[in-house]
């Protein structure tokens, strides 16, 4: 091809999107994001393998070593007022956070994405109904409703009768008491993803390459999967990263209020709350889980920012 040609049209244009390899390269250039991702992996691995390397269980009480400070004889992070090992509790709390985050991601991908694709692809009344529900969901006092739903589920599991309560009870056995949290995640966490994917679908559907695919004889499935979905990967990824902290927060807040995981299982939220009862005498008890929670959320945030910058072709390479 002539040099004039390659200098011609391509020079002035910015590519609308980036190739996967390019994204990976750009992401790896963002040192903060990369380090954050590595630390997150480390934390998750440590939390889920804690039974292997810890001597004490999160529920083991030991009246002899109550309220021991960190870095003392009673374990790396000390003990709480019942003499339970804070490190073991912290690791279990992280597991719950990860479980909530993973389930939240699942809801977004398994409910939000298909719904957004359907609404965007089909349009019509499906679209109207889905988008009206999204509007309502976004204008609702989320945390309060979440706690209400949590309260309801807790009572159903505890003393409900009938088929629904039975189902909830068996789910509760599987989820180690996190059922209310999971139900709330299902109720709320498809919303923003559906909205984003729906908007993106409409944009992609209007582009020529979708028409081209039609002209080639492509059916709806191929168009949605190969053309629309592939062009939605960037906003989906970013949205997942942005909502992970919110899912963790939901679990922590619900557990802290008593409609999440049951004691003695420790959620980070529960640990912060219980520690705060002794904030004047033993501030480390609330400080340790607080800092852990904030750190994990921040790391996720950094990874999300890195992904967003790496996926956005208009930003220059960052630090």
């Amino acid at each position: 091809m002539s040099s004039i040609e390659s200098a011609g049209l391509s020079a002035g244009r910015v590519p609308a999107t980036l190739a996967p390899i390019e994204i990976a390269r750009r992401f790896s250039h963002r040192r903060i994001a990369l380090v954050s991702a590595a630390l997150l992996v480390l934390i998750v691995v440590l939390a889920f393998s804690s039974d292997l390397w810890l001597t004490r269980d999160y529920a083991d009480q030991d009246p002899l070593v109550r309220n021991q400070p960190p870095l003392g004889d009673a374990g790396l992070l000390g003990t709480d007022q019942l003499g339970r090992d804070l490190l073991a509790r912290l690791m279990f709390g992280i597991r719950l956070s990860v479980a909530a985050a993973a389930f939240g991601v699942l809801v977004q991908l398994a409910v939000g994405v298909p719904l957004g694709l359907l609404a965007g692809y089909r349009g019509g009344w499906i679209d109207s109904v889905a988008m009206r529900s999204v509007d309502v969901m976004l204008a609702v006092p989320g945390l309060l409703i979440a706690l209400l739903i949590g309260m309801n589920i807790k009572e159903q599991v505890a003393s409900g009768s009938g088929a629904v309560a039975d189902v909830l009870r068996s789910i509760d056995r599987l989820t180690a008491g996190l059922t209310p949290v999971f139900v709330v995640l299902v109720v709320f966490f498809w919303v923003s993803m559906a909205r984003i994917v729906r908007g993106e679908t409409r944009v992609v559907m209007a582009r020529d390459f979708v028409r081209a695919a039609r002209g080639l004889g492509a059916g709806p499935f191929r168009i949605v999967v190969h053309h629309v979905l592939r062009n939605c990967i960037a906003p989906i990824t970013v949205s997942v990263a942005l909502l992970i902290p919110v899912t963790m927060l939901t679990e922590a807040a619900m557990s802290l209020v008593g409609v999440g995981v049951d004691p003695p299982r420790p959620s980070l939220g529960v640990m912060i709350y219980e520690g705060a009862q002794q904030i004047n005498s033993f501030p480390y008890q609330t400080l340790v889980p607080s800092i852990t929670f904030a750190a994990v959320v921040l790391l996720v945030g950094f990874v999300g920012d890195g992904l967003r910058a790496a996926l956005d072709p208009t930003t220059e390479q960052g630090r």
């Binding site: 040609e5 590519p15 999107t17 390459f209 028409r211 004889g217 592939r230």
Partner: protein
């Protein structure tokens, strides 16, 4: 032998607005065309004249309001989705914007292979071989397959689009201004490629254009559209040398004449924009801009009449080349 494409009295209307202000636009208003095998018919007109809509309806990418479309002797209108799929093997579309018409998330191989995958042509290895063959055919290097479209220039991307359109060996290509988004220096290369491909594969082209220089080079016949109707149709040489409809005359005079061909002509400049298709003028739609317009033109719509063999014009007062403006 059947025509590669025949369009009979095609009408396409779009609803616009909503509620009380809802109304209907006739983008295409009774267009009839035929493209013979191995022939290029250029469809010429300003933007908004309905030429792209006609092309989209021709390949069932839009549903016509009324009228019939025949491809290779098979009626397209009212085909089941399954029949339409098989139609796609006979007729393909090349888009104007080479940046928008290739999925940026696919590799060139995936893009060119897609028609083969959709129609399950051969096995995987066979398809890859065919992709390599097609890329060679359109003049792209073998390593192009593994790259992604944004690594290519506009002209190269248009070649990729052509390779994709050729994958199923169609007999008809509808080219929607395939070079108008490209640099002038590149346009000729792509046009030459299209002409070579036509010779080698006996392709028929419905070639949409507004650039008459390109039309002169590639077209066998020309149809001129104005506000959803065909106003003049005939052999390319004749239309270019002796246009009869005032609108065509104006278009031709605006286009730079080929050096060494024809005589010096007075330039006729069209003033104003084409009228809105929402509220088209009565009678001859061109009367608002026509220098020959008379009272009749404002009330009576001129029919498309064959003045010379193979040369039809829709005008009450066709231009006579020898006496006027010569």
């Amino acid at each position: 032998m059947d025509d590669a494409l025949r369009i009979d009295d095609l009408v396409k209307e779009y609803p616009i607005g909503s509620g009380r202000r809802r109304s209907i636009v006739r983008a295409v208003d009774g267009v009839s065309l035929r493209v013979r095998r191995g022939e290029t018919l250029a469809l010429v007109g300003e933007s908004g004249s309905g030429k792209t809509t006609t092309a989209l309806c021709a390949l069932a990418l839009e549903r016509p309001t009324s009228g019939e479309v025949w491809i290779d002797g098979r009626e397209v209108t009212g085909m089941s989705p399954k029949e339409l799929r098989s139609l796609r093997r006979q007729a393909q579309y090349i888009f104007q914007d080479p940046f928008a018409s290739l999925n940026p998330r696919m590799s060139v191989r995936e893009i060119v292979r897609e028609p083969l995958d959709i129609h399950r042509v051969g096995d995987s290895a066979g398809r890859d071989a065919r992709v390599a063959e097609l890329l060679g055919l359109v003049g792209l290097a073998g390593d192009a397959a593994a790259r992604s479209p944004h690594q290519f220039s506009g002209g190269q991307r248009q070649r990729i689009g052509i390779a994709r359109a050729l994958a199923l060996s169609p007999g008809l290509l509808v080219c929607d201004e395939p070079v108008s988004a490209l640099d002038v220096s590149v346009q000729a290369q792509v046009i030459n490629l299209l002409m070579d491909l036509q010779d080698e594969h006996d392709l028929a082209y419905l070639f949409i254009a507004h650039d008459l220089a390109v039309v002169r080079q590639i077209a066998h016949r020309v149809a001129v559209m104005y506000l959803g109707r065909i106003v003049e149709e005939g052999a390319a040489d004749e239309i270019c040398a002796k246009p009869r409809h005032p609108y065509t005359v104006a278009l031709m005079s605006a286009a730079p004449a080929r050096p060494g061909r024809g005589v010096h002509r007075e330039r006729i400049v069209l003033t104003g924009d084409p009228p809105s298709p929402i509220d088209p003028p009565s009678g001859c739609a061109f009367h608002t801009r026509c220098w020959k317009a008379a009272d009749t033109c404002r009330t009576v719509r001129p029919p498309l009449i064959e003045l010379d063999p193979g040369h039809a014009v829709a005008c009450h007062f066709p231009v006579r080349r020898d006496t006027e403006l010569g």
